[in-house]
């Protein structure tokens, strides 16, 4: 029970961090059809901006400044890069974002160095909020949950109840029609791309000190975010939210469930011995293959449910 509750909390925190990253990506992907390889790089950039800003004027201004900076860079990339590349089709866009990811990675290494940045939790939030079975739950994690929850609410309400949100939704499901009705779809694209990168930046601000702010953090978080987008389904914020929590839970629970296929077979009355074929695979315990599970999940979804959990279009 103790392990279950604590792991549930861990999974929730990790899942919400994933959601903050993936929500921006899913908006960009479903609207513009651009699989933004640089998305996790903006996460990293957000963390480094926040580190630099917080050493000068503090963490709280950084919470606003860093995402805005990321959003501005994102807007510039959309206006001067993606829009041009768009004429040459999706492959060109893909390659452009891939190149941007490499450039941001190298720029971060050159600007801040290869070592992890000492970006720490603000002292105001650096205390254990409560202890559950002797394991402390840091206040900062509650703060993360709060920010990501608020973010989900704000995006959801914004898409649903504002005029801009309606236009975005229209452009999501019927881009040609929205354009034909006289809406400036390119400008909407710029806005969405900027908002998406700003969200990634915000995730960086609060994820950078939860994990470690280092040049490798983009590469570490990048692939799993794509899993969330595919599993959640295109164009669905709710799907993205559920998929994030699902992947977060899968990753955390796979660590604590110390079982293997052999244990499953034993329930069925089959004893796995050293002489059996594939016995090494069968006795491989779940924690050892845990990080692969999200990708296995993604393959299953692509094969059997390409629309994802709540997608409105095929991937």
């Amino acid at each position: 029970m103790e392990v279950f509750v604590v792991t549930l909390l861990n999974g929730l925190v990790y899942g919400m961090l994933l959601f903050m990253l993936a929500s921006g990506l899913t908006l960009i992907f479903s609207m513009m059809g651009v699989l933004n390889f640089a998305h996790a790089s903006f996460y990293m950039l957000g963390a480094y901006f926040a580190y630099s800003v917080s050493t000068h004027i503090g963490f709280w201004p950084a919470l606003v400044v860093a995402p805005v900076l990321c959003g501005l860079i994102g807007a510039a990339i959309e206006m001067y890069g993606l829009r041009r590349a768009h004429r040459n089709g999706h492959v060109a866009e893909l390659l452009l974002t891939f190149g941007i990811a490499l450039i941001i990675g190298t720029a971060v290494e050159m600007g801040w160095g290869m070592m992890p940045a000492p970006y720490r939790v603000p002292s105001l939030l650096d205390f254990p909020l409560f202890a559950i079975y002797g394991t402390q739950f840091p206040a900062y994690r509650a703060f993360m949950l709060l920010i990501s929850g608020a973010m989900f609410g704000a995006i959801w309400a914004g898409l649903k109840y504002t005029r801009l949100g309606l236009i975005i939704q229209a452009a999501l499901s019927h881009p040609d029609m929205a354009s034909a009705l006289g809406h400036n779809v390119p400008r909407v694209f710029t806005f969405v791309f900027a908002a998406g990168t700003a969200l990634a930046g915000l995730a960086g601000v609060i994820g950078g000190n939860y994990q470690v702010t280092e040049p490798d953090m983009a590469v570490a978080m990048g692939p799993v975010v794509f899993v969330v987008v595919v599993v959640g389904g295109l164009g669905s914020l709710t799907g993205c939210f559920i998929a994030s929590l699902l992947v977060g839970m899968v990753q955390t629970f796979s660590v604590v469930l110390d079982y293997s296929l052999a244990d499953l077979l034993r329930l069925g009355g089959v004893q796995v011995t050293d002489t059996m074929p594939f016995n090494e695979l069968l006795t491989m315990s779940l924690p050892r293959i845990g990080p692969l599970l999200p990708y296995a999940l993604m393959l299953l979804f692509i094969a059997f449910k390409p629309r994802g959990l709540m997608g409105t279009r095929d991937t």
């Binding site: 002797g134 470690v212 490798d216």
Partner: protein, 423 residues
Amino acid sequence: MANRIRLFIARMISLAVALLCAAATIGTDTALAEDTVKVAYTSPLSGPFAQLGDTQLKEFQYIVDYLNAHGGVLGRKFELVPFDNKSQVADALITLQRATDQNIPFILQCSGSNIAAALIDGINKHNEYNPESRILYLDCGAVATELTNEKCSFWHFRFDMNSLMKSEVLVRGLPKDLTKVYLLNQDFIAGQSMQHDFKAFLAKLRPDIQVVGEELIPFGKVKDFSPYITKVKASGAQALVTGNFGPDLNLLIKAGLDAGIDLKYYTFSAQFAGGPTAIGPRGDGKVVSVMPFNENVAPKIGNADADAFTKGFRDKFHLDFSDAVTFRTSLEYIQAAAKKVGSLDPTKIAFAMEDMQLKDFLGYDTVMRKADHQVLMPYYTSTLTKGAQYDAENTGLGWVPTATVMAKDVDQPTTCNMKRPAM
């Protein structure tokens, strides 16, 4: 018109690039003309372990500059030639190929044991087929025990203690009142062998200690260690013993400190680049690491020269100098062996290094064991605490040596069956 201007600009740019390239080539040519003794250094300068590789490159460069300023090798200067292996075996073999193509007689590789094993195979073959351009592998930190046992090679010399010896130092350093430990390692060759070694030494040296859990984690893939900490906590362990390095170690300790559970961390690699930063002030007194050196050793034993040498690095790069002994000793063995045989021929140097005794720069005895080419050197158990003379990565916490194990005390047997070439 606009097109013409564009064309003109493009031409000017390509001309500038061509000139720059030419200038760069001229630069290297003059360096070559000085007739240096080249030492290849293959390490992850990009990829997930880039921070380790980059810091170690700076350490080596500082040592090479120091040794060159103090006489070099047979009156010539060492020249460090860095290669990026991205922490990948295939890339490391390509860098070996590039080193042998340039006729470089020595190659350093300090991180992965899987890479070391592949390099040993590659070098065995190369040296057999190319007796006129042999290359020695100076292993400055790949610690899997196999490398000096089953896989031992005449061309491989290890200047750090192997994982088995380090494990013994770590187990000997465990406090007397400890009764429950949790073992956690990375799921690859070195991690698996450490997991095995810990258990063997605990059974032999500390039968009173119970292993309440063991875990192999996917290598370099875990982003959130909180669930592992939950498991460790549930097992009732008082200490976590781990051979993890890089992000796998930093994130693990960070998750443990976040959860605020009463646990001590016994490690080999917490002193490496990024470790103390990730641990932070909350780790005061909680993290113990077994290491070949730290900067607080020299002041503790009152060796002012050694202190000045390591302080120079700190002043120049504002980085910790964790590998000073292993790195400097590996090059000093080359220096001493070359002096002894009066030649830079790798085969002669290899024979000369066998059973060679040398004092490290702290003044302690070391010996390169002939049977398996494993160095025997002193080792230090240190705790990350407040109030150290030199702090680690500006965290305010520094490594304070709490126990020293002398070279002769870790003289474990080897199963190596060394094949030596004809002189």
